[in-house]
Every structure is written in C-alpha cells, then in structure tokens.
Amino acid sequence: DTAVSQTPKYLVTQMGNDKSIKCEQNLGHDTMYWYKQDSKKFLKIMFSYNNKELIINETVPNRFSPKSPDKAHLNLHINSLELGDSAVYFCASSRAPQGLNSPLHFGNGTRLTVT
C-alpha cells in the first residue's frame, strides 16, 4: 500500500564515505523529487525528474548525483560525505511537474547522520 517508499530510513556513516538512498513510487506519477530538510525543518528542493529526465537541478554540490532508471524510481547517490550533509532527505512524487493540480506525495524520509 505504500505510495512513496524510500530506504534506508536511517543512515549513519563517516565523513568521506559514499552512500545511496533509494526511492520508489507506485502511484503511476511521472515526476519525482529529492528534498532536503535541515535541522530547522526548512524543506528545500534539490532535484526533480519528469519521465526519467532531469528538469530541476538546484544549487547542489556535484557530490550529489540523482539517477532515475525508470519513472517509478529515483535514487540519490552522495560521494565524499561531509558533516554538513547531515539532514533528512525526502523523496516525493507528483502526477505532473509541480503545478496547480499536482500536489506532492512524500516518502517518510531518510535521516542521514555524518560523523
């Protein structure tokens, strides 16, 4: 029944490591996103894909690389993790690129802690 699922839910790793977060949606949506929520709960978009094509790429370090093998999946790979990468990362999907009739459906987040 889970609409947008992301794994893992918790990720604790050391500086310099490389890690990936996976996301899958079973809603049949065309558009998927990665958002970052910092310690002050501010939610900021990182990337958006529509039908496997990158359509939004905010100012994010090159160490972050999204990949969409198909429109139901959007993974996030992070190289050379830094302390400042610690945050909760949310995957989301919508029927079409964000607009009036395309609200976002979020996963439950991946809490990344870099030590």
């Binding site: 964000q98 009036l100 009739n101």
Partner: protein, 114 residues
C-alpha cells in the same frame, strides 16, 4: 525565488483552544498549498487554494487565501492533540510546466497539550 514567511514559528496551546497560523509573501502566487508533517513522516497535503479570497474547510481546519493571492492563513478550531505537527505552506508561480517549482515556508511547529 519567492520567499514565504510563516508565523508563528512555534505554537504551544492547550486542547480546546483556537489558533491561527499565517503564511505571507511580497509575491503573488498562482496557488498555495498547506501540508502537515508529523514526527518521523513526510509532509501530507491538506489543501490547495487557487482563487483570491477563497476559503476552504477541512473539518476543524479553515484555510483562507488572501484577496491579492500574496498570503494565506490556517485557522484551527478547538485544537486536539492529534493536530500536533509541523504546518508548512508552499507556493509557486505560473500555471505549471517543467520550470514550475514549489517554495516551502519554514513551517509552524504546533504542539497541542492534552
């Protein structure tokens, strides 16, 4: 990038009280959405407002979009502990398309004490 200011940032009230939270900007929006986020979960859409002056009700929650489409408010009547959460407003411009982006406010963290 549109800047959304939400107030108050934190709100702690007793069960049964009423409250209002605000979302303001100097920009005009084509639409505005309200989400609620509970601890350990992702935000969940509550409502979308699109017309200036529009009022929508969702049980004890009343959402209003300003006449000039620059601001919105969320009023909760007789708050219950289950209303506890982070309330986020999000807004965007234009009529859609691949360049359309939602900008989120920083949220109002509501705690309703029994």
């Amino acid at each position: 990038t549109q800047l959304l200011e939400q107030s108050p940032q934190f709100l702690s009230i007793q069960e049964g009280e009423n409250l209002t939270v605000y979302c303001n900007s100097s920009s005009v929006f084509s639409s505005l959405q309200w989400y609620r986020q509970e601890p350990g979960e992702g935000p969940v859409l509550l409502v979308t407002v699109v017309t200036g002056g529009e009022v929508k009700k969702l049980k004890r929650l009343t959402f209003q979009f300003g006449d000039a489409r620059k601001d919105s408010s969320l009023h909760i009547t007789a708050a219950q502990p289950g209303d506890t959460g982070l309330y986020l407003c999000a807004a965007g411009g234009g009529s859609g398309g691949s360049n359309y982006k939602l900008t989120f406010g920083k949220g109002t963290l509501l705690t309703v004490n029994p």
